[in-house]
């Protein structure tokens, strides 16, 4: 990356995220009831998706969740067993890959090893109605976009992994597709390069305005890159939303557990009043308050979930409704924050993440091993989950 990362922030501000502008338009990509079966195995199960023009949309899930199969159906490499796929209002379901206005950046990059960087980028253009000089201009423009103008005559094996990734991106963008599919775009890069490339990808997306669909197993990557994301499991879409929606308002234990870490407790609803539910949580050893969700009835069994960073740790009993006592079982100091493992009287252990906002010495910590402590959380931070 020859360009310092500080410039990228300014550019992002200059090109406001297209997704926000397109909020009111009809969906650009529509996946309707798509199912893919391989023999008796169902890889993708009745998926519905609506993606707007100019979005970076992530499909997030573990391996075997069907995200790659869904991507390959969008590219045309697999035919859906059921359902239809529309791009820009056109039914794409029965078109072969070479007739779709869709390009893909492969996880392995799949650069042609016998062609130079320039020839790789130009490959898709020969099927387009362009003059030779227009083609050369487009190649030059694409190589400039990914900052590889000086490498145009190299072969793929003569450049670094990060450069190869950018050639793959330039090649996929050269035909100006309506939709760009990215299969684990950053998985093959090392950690440092990955962070820089994330911002570069967003920058390029803003410049070109192309709709991106990214497949990833990395939740941080999905949250940083995308305007919206879908969490997939066992071929189904569990939840779709912005990073904030999915993280702060998960709709199931699975989504809550997949994105970030979280503490789960079995609980029973005691009553609901003014959007606040009172909940009995025997494992917490207390009756606590949590933000209500629709359709709660007293006596209902429910899961109470609290993220580690939403808990506050203190030595004295805090004010407010949600106070729990416990004992420090373990603590890990990471510098900017610390992770505490607190054992409750019920025997359950829960995790707390606490930001070290003040500079303290070795013996001045909020809590130490075996200390008796109090935990508290805001009712609005507690998540109630029906399943």
């Amino acid at each position: 990356m020859s360009e310092p990362a500080t410039n990228i922030g300014a550019k992002v501000a200059q090109f406001p995220r297209a997704a926000a502008l397109a909020e009111k338009e009809p969906p650009f990509i529509r996946v309707e009831g798509v199912t893919k079966r391989f023999g008796s195995f169902t890889a993708v199960s009745s998926v519905n998706l609506e993606i707007r023009k100019g979005e970076i949309f992530s499909l997030l899930g573990g391996s075997g969740c069907g995200k790659t199969t869904l991507l390959r159906m969008l590219a045309g490499f697999e035919d859906p067993t059921e359902g239809r796929i529309f791009i820009d209002g056109q039914d794409m379901t029965d078109l072969p890959p070479y007739e779709r206005p869709v390009n893909m950046m492969f996880q392995s990059y799949a650069l042609f090893p016998h062609m130079t960087v320039e020839k790789n980028v130009a490959y898709g253009l020969k099927h387009m109605d362009m003059t030779a000089s227009q083609r050369a201009d487009r190649v030059r423009e694409m190589l400039a976009l990914v900052q590889l103008s000086d490498f145009s005559h190299r072969k793929p094996h003569q450049i670094s992994g990060g450069q190869r990734q950018r050639v793959a991106l330039a090649r996929a963008l050269a035909k100006q597709p309506k939709l760009l599919l990215l299969d684990e775009p950053l998985a093959a890069l090392d950690k440092k390069l990955r962070e820089a490339t994330q911002f570069e990808l967003m920058d390029i997306q803003d410049k070109t305005g192309t709709t991106f669909i990214v497949v990833t197993h990395d939740q941080e990557e999905a949250m940083t890159l995308s305007s919206r994301l879908a969490v997939m499991d066992k071929g189904r879409i569990m939840q779709t939303g912005t990073a904030t929606e999915v993280y702060e308002y998960p709709n199931s234990k699975l989504v809550a557990g997949f994105i970030g870490s979280i503490n789960f407790f079995d609980a029973t609803i005691r009553g609901v009043r003014d959007e606040v539910a009172t909940v009995d949580a025997p494992e917490l050893g207390a009756t606590v308050e949590a933000r209500a969700i629709p359709g709660l009835t007293p006596g209902q069994q429910i899961t109470l979930a609290i993220r580690p960073e939403k808990l506050t740790i203190s030595r004295s009993k805090p004010e407010g409704p949600n106070a729990i006592s416990g004992k420090v079982r373990d603590l890990a100091y990471f510098g900017k924050d610390s992770l505490y493992r607190i054992e409750l009287p019920s025997g359950r252990v829960l995790s707390i993440n606490s930001v070290n906002s003040r500079r303290v010495g070795e013996n001045e910590r909020v809590a130490d091993w075996e200390d008796a402590v109090w935990l508290s959380f805001d009712p609005s931070s507690a998540i109630l989950l029906k399943d």
């Binding site: 590219a75 045309g76 490499f77 072969p96 890959p97 070479y98 869709v102 390009n103 893909m104 492969f106 392995s108 799949a110 650069l111 042609f112 090893p113 016998h114 490959y123 898709g124 099927h127 387009m128 005559h153 190299r154 072969k155 003569q158 090649r171 996929a172 035909k175």
Partner: protein
């Protein structure tokens, strides 16, 4: 220094240097003993003079240093030139046919499921389990005028052509066609196996990428698969072409005696005419004919690689 410590240090040196040297030296020693030395003998023999003694050649006499008459005869007697042309032409045609038949087979092998692939690869190798000579004899039987195979082909031919052009049988034995047919049959696995090894390594996502960028299946083959399989094509073609050009048994058994082949000529000069120096000269010339173009190719290929490496750094 005690004996045990000396043997220990010797073992250390051997572990450090010895094994590597032996591993590298073994194939070279093998080649020197069983290729280079015999070749030097044949080369020397080609400059000797034929005598009615045993062995039937001697050095010196009228030609104190080297007798180059045999090489001169190669160019003056058109038997040799015709034999070279026949053999090279035959081998070229057989190699092309092997490529045309073998390429789709090798490509097919890479596209079937793994369990099927093993079965089919087995079938490609299976003929090697029968003696080569037996397989040529089997073809002689098939091509003979009274075989069911010949009758089947004759029937099919007669069914297509008008009745006044009907044949009683198709003359296949002792023709150039028979030589090419049996050569292609015999050497096809030598084309398929290196091609398969090459094609199998190609990343299928390259094909998908080309298709994704707008290429139809044939264009994908032309732009991606074919150029990337050139090393396999060269390896397979050499493995077929080189032995096919010196082939002795096939032309002797199914070929026409009026079409001299170089393998046959060498054998005849050696055994029937007992002219060992002439046989050696023909063999040396054949080797040069095959090896020199290969060396030129390797030289320029290596240079191109070097150039590419230099550009990269």
């Amino acid at each position: 220094m005690s004996l045990s410590s000396r043997s220990a240090s010797l073992r250390k040196w051997f572990n450090r240097r010895g094994w590597i040297k032996i591993t590298i030296a073994t194939p070279y020693i093998w080649l020197a003993l069983f290729f280079l030395l015999p070749f030097v003998i044949v080369m020397a023999m080609s400059f000797a003079t034929r005598t009615p003694t045993a062995p039937p050649f001697s050095f010196g006499g009228d030609y104190p240093v080297m007798n180059t008459d045999h090489y001169a005869r190669l160019f003056s007697d058109d038997l040799y030139i015709r034999a070279y042309l026949n053999s090279i032409g035959n081998a070229t045609f057989a190699t092309l046919m092997c490529l045309l038949i073998g390429y789709p087979m090798a490509l097919g092998l890479t596209r079937v499921s793994r369990s099927w692939r093993n079965v089919l690869l087995m079938l490609v190798i299976l003929p090697f389990w029968t003696s080569f000579l037996l397989r040529v004899y089997a073809w002689m039987g098939l091509m003979g005028t009274n075989s069911w195979f010949n009758k089947l082909l004759t029937g099919a031919y007669n069914w297509i052509v008008p009745s006044d052009m009907a044949l009683r049988y198709i003359p296949m034995m002792n023709t150039g066609f028979a030589v090419v047919l049996v050569t292609v049959y015999s050497y096809l696995p030598f084309m398929i196996l290196p091609l398969y090894a090459n094609l199998e390594k190609l990343d299928i996502s390259l094909n998908e990428a080309a298709m994704d960028l707008g290429s139809k299946p044939f264009q994908v083959f032309r732009d991606v698969t074919l150029p990337l399989s050139v090393p396999g094509i060269i390896a397979g073609s050499l493995l077929v072409f080189i032995p096919a050009s010196g082939e002795l048994i096939i032309p002797s058994l199914v070929g026409s005696s009026s079409r001299p082949m170089i393998g046959r000529v060498i054998s005849d000069e050696f055994a029937s005419a007992r002219d060992w120096p002439m046989a050696s000269a023909v063999a040396v010339a054949l080797l040069l004919l095959l090896v020199v173009p290969l060396m030129i190719y390797t030289y320029y290929d290596g240079k191109a690689h070097e150039k590419a490496q230099k550009e990269a750094t």
